[in-house]
């Protein structure tokens, strides 16, 4: 069985594009999270919605910052 070359799961050339898109979506979700926090009053606030928006925003921000680090040459 000949040895097979191992490469990264996502091609290198896609890192900058992926980082821009995921960070953009993450920042939009962060903005919507903070808008919800600012416009809602104590009565109308919904904890589930807050946590859900925060979780999805943090997933996109996390991946976006990882791809940003990889695209700028810091291979973590």
């Amino acid at each position: 069985m000949a040895p097979k070359a191992i490469a990264s799961p996502i091609p290198d050339s896609l890192y900058p594009t992926l980082s821009v898109f995921t960070l953009a979506i993450g920042l939009i979700l962060t903005a919507s999270f903070f808008i919800y926090e600012a416009t809602s009053s104590r009565k109308t606030r919904n904890l589930t919605q807050e946590l859900a928006t925060g979780a999805v925003a943090s997933v996109f921000l996390g991946f976006g910052s990882l791809f940003l680090l990889l695209a700028s040459g810091v291979y973590v």
Partner: protein
């Protein structure tokens, strides 16, 4: 009696333990051709031995011996079987294993003996050809030891004109290749010929074993004597697609030491006369597709470098900040990145890294070579496999996004030469899911920030819960919530109005009266519901004292909305009527004109008021 027994058992165990029972087998070297290359600081000796078995036993090992003063400088030794005849196939054979042996009593002292194991034994009367390559470092002595800037560098080389071997030699010859420069003096023994820059000793016939005929050559050599006192080579693997190599060099010029002043003017004006033995450039051969190459030292980046690459290699030419004369030191760092798929392979569930061991700089002698392979966190069962003996140890390195640190394999080798620049492998196991640990750490970091802001917004940090200002704040928040509710209800009313208008437009397009009537019915019922919903918030606002300012506006909006509703209904009925009576378009327009005007005006006012309420 007891002592004798002890001594006997000691000797017995000693003879059992000594791995080679050394008896010089009856081999004869029929032809020995030696070629010594003195053109660089590294002395390479290529010896071609034609071995014949003159005895009756099958011989499975051949002994090679070196005088002690040479053996301490021996950096690399390789013996190969030469299958072809003459010079047709230079090094087609696989390197034979050799081992250092303890020289027995009948060997003269101060000899180091190596035993080469043959793959199949040499039978009686058979002969074979063996190619031996021995590489020596620090064996050329500068003589004079200290020179000024204007002097040339002269070196002394001592060797034996007869090949030192435990077997008798029938015919032998020695060729010494000297650099294209001045030859100060050489030993004039019998059969000595100097042809250009090649010195030939021989042929000598029928020399007994352990013959030693000293000869000395004093010659000029101006090649760069770059010696790295220590080289730390760090290879860091990231499974996201990069192998980063960082090399820290500590170079010194290993030739004749420089004494006296250094005159920059003399050096710049005539570099080949004043400073012939100094070197100003080093050339390194990096693997192809190397990227992000940098060359710096403690001060900062060094810009005097050139890089060009093709598909086979990337060539880096570096020029240190000053020319290196004898005894001068320089320290710098070279770093470069390589694509992962060229060096990392997977087989049978394991992964292994296949990369070169030594330094990429040409003709560099390294006194201490330390190679550190940093594997990603989560690698297990690490085992390196190097083609020559090295010292191993394990370390941990903390780098980006690490929790427990990355495992590091440290391989150390003394006295390394470019012949050691072979590929070595490091095997390890890695679970693919461990790669997710890094983005998960970042995700949890960001999520923690969001949770912190949620907690901050939910936390009630007021100290007194009965003070007037606190109560006022609570009431105002309730009013805000109710107004928000009213706002949403009125927006829903407006959307139902839009639905009605849309149905009218559909009617003008398709002429389907029944569908229009059906929409009218549903809109009627939803508007009735919405009016009911409005009742409770309005009553709350009327009762609360904080809402006195906003209340008139809210009531105005509600009133206007009701008005709009009525007019829309009227308009709708008129249009449907006209369609039933099959009146023309102009007629319809006339009838609804007045309604339409008021409707658009009211709509505008309602929108303005809604914006005003929204800003509260």
């Amino acid at each position: 009696m007891k002592m004798k027994l002890n001594l006997f058992s000691f000797l017995f165990t000693f003879t059992i333990l000594s791995s080679h029972v050394l008896s010089i087998s009856d081999l004869i070297l029929t032809k020995v051709d030696r070629r010594i290359d003195l053109s660089t600081q590294i002395v390479r000796t290529t010896t071609t031995l034609k071995v014949e078995n003159a005895g009756s036993d099958i011989v499975s090992e051949i002994l090679l011996s070196f005088p002690e003063n040479h053996a301490i400088h021996l950096a690399y030794l390789s013996a190969t079987l030469n299958e072809g005849r003459g010079k047709a196939k230079p090094s087609s054979g696989v390197s034979l294993p050799y081992d250092e042996v303890v020289s027995p009593k009948d060997f003269p002292n101060s000899l180091k003996v190596y035993s080469v194991t043959l793959p199949k034994g040499l039978g009686k009367g058979d002969s074979l050809t063996l190619d031996v390559l021995a590489v020596f470092t620090h064996i050329l002595q500068p003589f004079p030891e200290k020179i000024t800037q204007a002097d040339i560098q002269l070196l002394l080389f001592q060797e034996s004109a007869h090949y030192l071997t435990p077997y008798p030699v029938k015919v032998q010859s020695l060729t010494v290749k000297l650099p294209d420069a001045r030859i100060e003096s050489y030993s004039k023994l019998e059969n000595t010929k100097l042809q250009g820059s090649e010195l030939k000793y021989g042929p000598y016939q029928n020399i007994p074993p352990f013959a030693y005929l000293p000869m000395v050559i004093h010659f000029e050599n101006n090649q760069p004597f770059a010696v790295a006192k220590e080289l730390v080579r760090e290879i860091e693997i990231s499974h996201w697609g990069n192998v980063q190599i960082t090399e820290h060099y500590n170079l010194v010029h290993g030739g004749a030491e420089s004494k006296g002043e250094f005159s920059r003017l003399d050096y710049q004006a005539r570099p080949y006369v004043r400073g012939a033995s100094a070197f100003r450039r080093l050339v390194a051969k990096l693997p192809p597709r190397a990227h992000s190459v940098y060359y710096r030292d403690e001060i900062g980046n060094i810009s005097t470098s050139n890089l060009w690459g093709d598909s086979k290699k990337t060539q880096l030419e570096i020029e240190p900040r000053y020319p290196i004369f004898g005894g001068w030191k320089i320290a710098f760092t070279i770093g470069y990145g390589l694509p992962l798929q060229d060096f990392l392979f997977g087989i049978d569930g394991k992964r292994f890294l296949n990369i070169s061991f030594g330094s990429p700089i040409n003709e560099l002698v390294i006194d201490t070579l330390i190679v550190k392979v940093v594997l990603p966190e989560g690698s297990k069962d690490i085992s390196p496999s190097v083609p020559f003996p090295v010292k191993q140890r394990h370390e941990t390195k903390f780098s980006h996004l690490d929790i427990a640190g990355r495992p590091v394999v440290v391989l150390e080798k003394n006295n390394a030469v470019p012949e050691h620049n072979e590929h070595f492998q490091v095997y390890y196991k890695f679970n693919r899911l461990s790669m997710l640990r890094e983005p998960l750490m970042l995700i949890f970091g960001f999520f923690f920030l969001f949770v912190a802001s949620i907690v901050y917004m939910h936390a009630d940090l007021s100290i007194s819960k009965t003070s007037a200002s606190y109560l006022a704040k609570i009431q105002w928040e309730e009013v805000q919530a109710t107004i928000h509710q009213v706002h949403t209800i009125i927006s829903r009313c407006l959307t139902t109005h839009d639905k009605l208008e849309a149905s009218l437009r559909d009617l003008s397009r398709t002429g389907d009266i029944q569908a229009c009537k059906a929409t009218r019915k549903s809109v009627d019922s939803s508007l009735k519901e919405l009016t009911k919903e409005l009742k409770s918030p309005v009553t709350f606002l009327q009762s609360s004292p904080q809402a006195t300012q906003i209340l008139p506006k809210v009531e105005e909006v509600i009133a206007k909305e009701r008005d709009l509703q009525e007019r829309l209904m009227a308009k709708h009925s008129t249009v449907v009527d006209c369609y039933e009576k099959k009146l023309g378009g102009r007629e319809i327009e006339n009838r609804v004109a007045s309604h339409q005007q008021k409707i658009t005006a009211l709509r505008q006012e309602i929108d303005d008021l809604m914006d005003l309420i929204d800003e509260i």
